[in-house]
Amino acid sequence: MPVAATREYVGVPRDVAANFHGKQLVYVSWDRHLLFAAPFLLCVPPEMKFRELLDGPLAMLSQPDPDAAAIDWTQVEWLKSNQPWTPDFGRSLADNGIGHKDQLRFRTQGANTLLTAA
């Protein structure tokens, strides 16, 4: 629906890719591992290899979860924009089709210590 206004109303988005100095935002979350209160917000270059994303920021950020050390990235299921999706670890984020502000989710099959602790 258009915004009720006295004349033509056009908004300017505040978070376009051009504002991030060559980087982009990527959101990543580990399904059902809720020690992390919200999906991670990462600001990374689109040329970054997908494997670098996993081994770098994602491995570091996931570490406080007691099951983090047991993640086998080759067995992980991925969702992109809530749809099943398969990344190519050796290729860049851009080549994997990961756009600015895309949300990636991953699911692991192993233990979920904090979910079953009760």
Binding site: M1, Y9, D15, K23, A37, F40, P64, R105
Partner: protein, 506 residues
């Protein structure tokens, strides 16, 4: 002015007529719709502005008299509080976190409400409405002032109070309240009345001010109790006026009903999201708790809200669209939010902490279906990490909701083990939401919400470019003083030392 008045005293009704309706005037050299250009574009049809009734029949002269009296009482008590070291009567300095959030997020909202009512007082044609809006504009600026003055005494002794205005503008957790008011102030005058008169005054006042003020009383904060009392009669008037305004719109034309319903749906959900902060203050931040967020919701949300919507049903108004989802979130939201505040506490201008055994026993008694099952294991693990010398800090920052601007901490309404992921693409850009409620609001007016200024993505843009230290300076957050765990903080050390001096012979 010296004037001989020989007439006998005017009755209330006549006086109200003379002091309000008689102040009205008709345009002579400009058409009325040019003088009042904003009253039609939202689609609300008003046929007779004289049907607007101020239930209080308050005129400006008596208004000034009442308010001046309240001010005198207020400042007398605030002075006494400051002179008698009132801050040492607090149950515990952890309480101050609730106060800091209030000052940074809510008090600036009072000021925003002031600006909004000053504007709609100019934009509405009816004289009764204009006068009522002007009074509310003055009330709201008084609320902002008295709150700031009441809390300024704490600023002399404790961290986190010194830069509330910068934090209102720039820090992340305040943006839920800031965006609520920005959204209302950039809407037309009728929508503004629903946003503030209905959502803020009616839905939020009960759930925000009542538990907050009782929390202050329970925790020995006389300063806050005093501003609460000083604002109480104003709030009662605002609530009645807000409701009066809704009924006026609904009675004037049946075509107004669906428009008003849409605003009720929207502003209920926006208000409910602001309550995320409140639920956390109630369940986690008050050393001596009044009631749980769940209990407050049952009284003020379910019972009072239910009665309100029953009352509005005769106009064809139904309970807000997000009502059921709200109910499903009640037993989760304070826990989800506090876990977030704790893990991002390097970026908060207040302290958070890991709940003690006693706190957790209280939480599990108040939330028998959710706390032990979902949240205790997480806190236990966080406690283990802290004991091991590796306290949990989540430097991943957070995805924010494009509409309410909170971190997307909430889970699926029917699955508390899965984060709620919602997204849409508009004109080639991706947008994310915390809930269906927030996505609906965006979908109705995407052109408005794409302009949202989201604090976390902003951190990676100019002028900060991702530098956390620079960001702290920019939001006036003093690292190691204002932020982090309460345990070991300056606030804790000072409070304990000063209280020791005041209560022992050491």
């Amino acid at each position: 002015m010296d004037m001989k008045v020989s007439k006998k005293k005017l009755g209330l009704k006549e006086r109200y007529r003379l002091m309000t309706r008689d102040l009205g005037w008709d345009t002579t050299y400009q058409p009325k719709d040019k003088v009042l250009p904003y009253v039609g574009y939202e689609g609300i049809k008003i046929h007779d502005w004289d049907k607007w009734e101020d239930p209080f029949r308050l005129t400006m002269d008596s208004y000034w008299k009442y308010q001046a009296e309240k001010e005198r009482k207020f400042y007398a008590i605030i002075d006494a509080h400051a002179q008698n070291n009132g801050h040492l009567n607090l149950t515990d300095a952890r309480y101050l976190s609730a106060l800091k959030i209030f000052l940074q997020a809510i008090s600036p909202g009072e000021y925003a409400a002031h600006k909004g009512f000053a504007r709609v007082g100019r934009e509405f044609p009816g004289v009764g409405t204009q006068v009522a809006c002007q009074m509310q504009a003055i009330d709201e600026i008084r609320h902002a002032q008295t709150q700031i003055h009441a809390m300024s005494n704490y600023n002399r002794y404790y961290n986190g109070f010194h830069a509330f205005a910068d934090q209102r503008d720039r820090i992340w957790y305040t943006s839920v309240a800031r965006s609520f008011f920005d959204d209302a102030m950039s809407a037309g005058p009728f929508e503004f009345m629903i946003a503030i008169g209905f959502s803020f005054e009616y839905v939020l006042t009960n759930l925000l001010f009542v538990p907050f003020m009782s929390g202050a009383a329970y925790n020995g904060d006389m300063a806050t109790v005093t501003f609460g009392f000083s604002a109480q009669s104003d709030e009662a008037r605002h609530m009645t006026l807000g409701l009066e305004c809704i009924k006026f719109m609904l009675e004037q034309d049946p075509a107004n009903v669906p428009i008003v319903q849409g605003w009720i749906d929207k502003w209920f959900w926006r208000g409910f999201r602001v309550l995320g902060l409140v639920s956390t203050m109630m369940d986690y931040m008050l050393p001596k708790r009044v009631m749980s967020w769940r209990e407050a919701w049952n009284i003020y949300g379910v019972e009072n809200g239910g009665a309100l919507f029953k009352d509005l049903a005769r106009y064809g108004i139904t309970p807000p669209k997000g009502w059921d989802d709200a109910e499903k979130g009640i037993d989760h939201m304070s826990h989800q939010f506090m876990l977030g505040l704790y893990q991002w506490s390097f970026g908060t201008a207040f302290h958070s902490w890991i709940p003690s055994d006693e706190d957790m026993a209280w939480l599990s008694a108040k939330y028998p279906d959710t706390f032990d099952k979902h949240y205790r294991p997480r806190w236990n693990h966080i406690r283990k990490l802290a004991a091991a010398g590796t306290p949990f800090k989540n430097y991943g920052l957070a995805k924010l909701c494009q509409t309410c601007q909170l971190p997307t901490v909430f889970t699926e309404p029917d699955d508390p083990t899965l984060t709620c992921h919602r997204e849409t693409t508009y004109k080639g850009e991706k947008y994310h939401f915390c809930s269906d409620g927030c996505q609906h609001i965006f979908d109705n007016e995407p052109e408005k919400y794409i302009q949202a200024w989201l604090p976390m993505p902003q951190l990676f843009q100019d002028p900060i470019k991702g530098d956390l230290g620079e960001w702290m300076k920019w939001v006036s957050l003093i690292d190691g003083k204002d932020n982090g765990d309460y345990a070991g903080s300056e606030d804790q050390q000072h409070f304990e030392a000063w209280r020791g001096l005041a209560t022992t012979n050491q």
